[in-house]
Symmetry: C2
Subunit: 137 residues, 2 copies
DNA sequence: GCTTCATGTTTACAAACGTAATCGTTCCGT
DNA sequence: ACGGAACGATTACGTTTGTAAACATGAAGC
C-alpha cells in the first residue's frame, strides 16, 4: 500500500521533518525546481550528473516521503511528488546550523571567514554591498 | 591580516584527511582550544554537555587519528593529542561546501538569505560593513 | 607482589546513508 | 491475449556515524 498516512493538515508542512541527507537534498532541488515530478523526471535531472540509476532515485523519494519532506499524490499507478517543505526553509535551516555549529551563531564570522579565504568574488562583494545599503536604509 | 597570502600555510597538513563528522568536530574544537590534550581532558570539556562517556571520546579520538586529522604523541603510556588540521581550514572548507551545495557557490546568496531571514544582527551588519570596506581598499 | 586504576585497542551494534537489485503488478503495444 | 516496459514496494548490502563495552596492559599504591 501507499504508506502516505494522510493527516494532511497544512501545505508546506512547517513541522518537524527529519533531517534530509545530501543525496536526498539533490532530489529535493529537482522537486523545488519543477514543482511536481515523477520519479523518472527526477532521474532525468540528476541521474547523469550524480551517476545514479533510477532505482536510487526511487529509494530517495521513498525516504523523503517517509521523512514527510515530500508528498506523493497517486496518479494512475504512479506518483507525482511535490515538496512539503520550502526551499528557503531548508537552506535557512542548514545555514543556521552551520553558523551555529562553526561560528557560535555569529553570521558575521562566517562572512569574515569567506572573505579571508577569498571565497568571495567581486560579484559577491558588490551584491553584498548593495544588500547592505538596502538593509541600512 | 588581510588576504593576498597565496603561498602561506605549507606545513599544517593541508593533505587529504577524510571528512570529519559532527561528533568528531566537537572533539576537534577542544583540541583547537587547548592545543594539546589527553583523552581525559577532552572529556572534561565535552562529556557533560554532550552526555558522553570517556569511551566515546576515545573512539572519536581514534577515528580522528585514523583520518589523519589529529596527531597522537606518546607520553608515557598515554597519548597527547593535537590537531593536524587548522580550525580555519576546517571551517573554511565546511563553509564552502555549504555555499556550493545550497547557493551554487554564490556566497552573496547566502548573505542574502541570512539577511532575508533576519538572521543578521546589527553587530553582524556593522562587522560585515567594516570588512567590506577593508576588502575594497 | 597483588589489586586497582588509568589508558589505548578491539570489538560491538543500531541507525543513517549511498546505491542499488529484485519482486509484484499493471499498462501498453501488437 | 501476451510479452515486455514501467512503477512502486521490498529487500539488500557495504560504509559511516554515534555511542559505547570489553579487553589488555602498564603504573601506582599498599
Amino acid at each position: 500500500m501507499t504508506q502516505s498516512n494522510a493527516e494532511n493538515s497544512a501545505q508546506t508542512d512547517h513541522g518537524k521533518h527529519e533531517r534530509i541527507s545530501e543525496a536526498e537534498h539533490a532530489v529535493m532541488e529537482v522537486l523545488w525546481e519543477r514543482g511536481t515530478v515523477t520519479a523518472a523526471e527526477v532521474c532525468e535531472d540528476v541521474c547523469e550528473a550524480r551517476e545514479w540509476g533510477l532505482a536510487t532515485v526511487k529509494t530517495l523519494l521513498s525516504r523523503l516521503v517517509a521523512k514527510r519532506a515530500i508528498a506523493a499524490k497517486p496518479d494512475g499507478r504512479r506518483y507525482i511528488y511535490s515538496a512539503l517543505i520550502e526551499r528557503s526553509d531548508y537552506i535557512g535551516g542548514e545555514s543556521k546550523r552551520l553558523v551555529d555549529r562553526l561560528f557560535g551563531g555569529q553570521a558575521s564570522s562566517l562572512f569574515a571567514h569567506l572573505a579571508e579565504q577569498e571565497a568571495l568574488s567581486e560579484d559577491d562583494l558588490s551584491a553584498i554591498e548593495a544588500l547592505l545599503k538596502e538593509l541600512k536604509q
